[in-house]
């Protein structure tokens, strides 16, 4: 560790990664009021895990975000989105018509948008990390001089 050439990178990344992940959740839940939403938040959360993987190695990243979560997350997101539509259907409205989800239409819309954005968030995060894991696991380790 004495001769670790990336000590600065590691220290700064350790400070930044939690902030990036927190910002992702801010973008997710503040999407109704400011710019952002499920898609952007998902990409930002995935970017924080990809950054962790770049700095600390793929094996550590796979411990922080286990690959089993990917399969669950990406299907859960689509199910959550489609399920919201089906629930609205069951309640007597059209598919994805959120107005019937709560006692009044505006509340129903709020609930619907929240659920749908959560679904987008799950799928986008999982798929982005899945693509990175799939590509990142393929390549052999690159030596320092090779760059």
């Amino acid at each position: 560790m004495n001769h670790d050439p990336h000590v600065l990178l590691r220290v700064i990344a350790k400070f930044l990664i939690p902030l990036i992940a927190l910002f992702a959740f801010y973008v997710q839940f503040h999407g109704d009021f400011g710019p952002g939403g499920g898609f952007q938040a998902g990409v930002i959360l995935a970017a924080s895990i990809i950054l962790y993987s770049l700095i600390f190695g793929l094996e550590n990243a796979k411990q922080a975000f286990p690959p089993i979560l990917i399969r669950i997350g990406m299907s859960l997101g689509v199910l959550l989105y489609g399920g919201t539509g089906v629930v609205a259907w069951m309640q007597g409205g059209e598919f994805l018509n959120y107005s019937v989800l709560a006692h009044d239409a505006i509340h129903g819309q709020h609930w619907g948008i929240l659920a749908v954005e959560l679904g987008v968030f799950c799928t986008v995060t999982s798929v982005m990390i899945a693509i990175f894991y799939a590509f990142g696991s393929r390549q052999p380790q690159t030596s320092e001089e090779d760059w």
């Binding site: 399969r71 994805l96 799928t123």
Partner: protein, 249 residues
């Protein structure tokens, strides 16, 4: 066109915005030319990230903050990393194409560019109140969001509620993309257990084919494989095989 825009609204902030737009677009063109003229793929990937960041800044000046957000996160962040990962599997330098093979692409680019320039006068001018984006269904969404959905960000309301079907389709597309990657590459890539049958010969399970220029590893691997499989097998070997070292750096 430009004189038209400035003449329409004579306030000074718009002129400064226009200057900013022109500056950012000039930067974009410069970065694009730099990308075309580069040979080092690493520098090209980095410049593509720069291009996305400048484009995101330009989207902010156009008040398309949601688009700028996505461009910065996807274009400059995730796709740069994915391009880097793809580059590591291929070569580090692009081979120059001889001039004789570039006349066809040049003709295509010139014709397409002239067609686009021909279409420019038909575009609505910047900030035109009667443009298709500012009339028809767009104004309808703006007027109804406050009453029907009561969400300050109209983009979210349109995306998740009025256009819920479209967004559902997008999510399914992303899901399908992830599914395709998982089916083709697997979650662990081929790290540590690469298996393939090339011309009837089983490749070893600790190596994955790459385009890396690590000649010593590839020749030693190839020698080893040709020893086992007879004279024909050297034909079936991938361009180069580098040993996977495993573990984190």
């Amino acid at each position: 066109m430009i004189a038209n825009i400035i003449g329409a609204v004579p306030t000074s902030p718009l002129i400064s915005t226009l200057l900013l737009d022109i500056g950012l677009l000039t930067l974009l063109v410069m970065v694009a030319f730099a990308i075309v003229r580069m040979r080092s793929l690493f520098a090209i990937v980095m410049l593509q990230g720069v291009y996305s960041l400048v484009a995101a800044a330009w989207f902010v000046t156009l008040d398309a903050v949601d688009v700028a957000f996505t461009e910065a996160a996807v274009g400059a962040g995730v796709s740069t990393v994915l391009m880097l990962a793809a580059m590591l599997l291929a070569d580090r330098e692009s081979t120059p194409v001889p001039m004789s093979r570039q006349w066809g692409p040049l003709a295509v680019v010139l014709i397409a560019g002239m067609a686009m320039l021909y279409a420019v006068p038909d575009l609505p001018s910047y900030g035109d109140a009667n443009s298709p984006a500012n009339s028809y269904v767009g104004t309808d969404y703006l007027a109804r969001t406050a009453v029907e959905i009561d969400v300050p960000n109209v983009v979210t309301a349109v995306l998740a509620s009025y256009r819920g079907y479209d967004t559902f389709g997008e999510v399914v597309v992303i899901f399908a993309a992830g599914l395709g990657v998982l089916l083709l590459l697997g979650l662990d890539g081929n790290a540590g257990r690469f298996r393939a049958q090339v011309m009837g010969r089983k490749l070893s399970d600790t190596s994955a084919p790459t385009g890396s220029t690590d000649k010593t590893a590839s020749t030693s691997q190839r020698r080893k494989s040709s020893g086992g499989g007879g004279g024909k097998s050297s034909l079936g070997a991938p361009p180069s095989i580098t040993r996977y070292e495993g573990g984190a750096s």
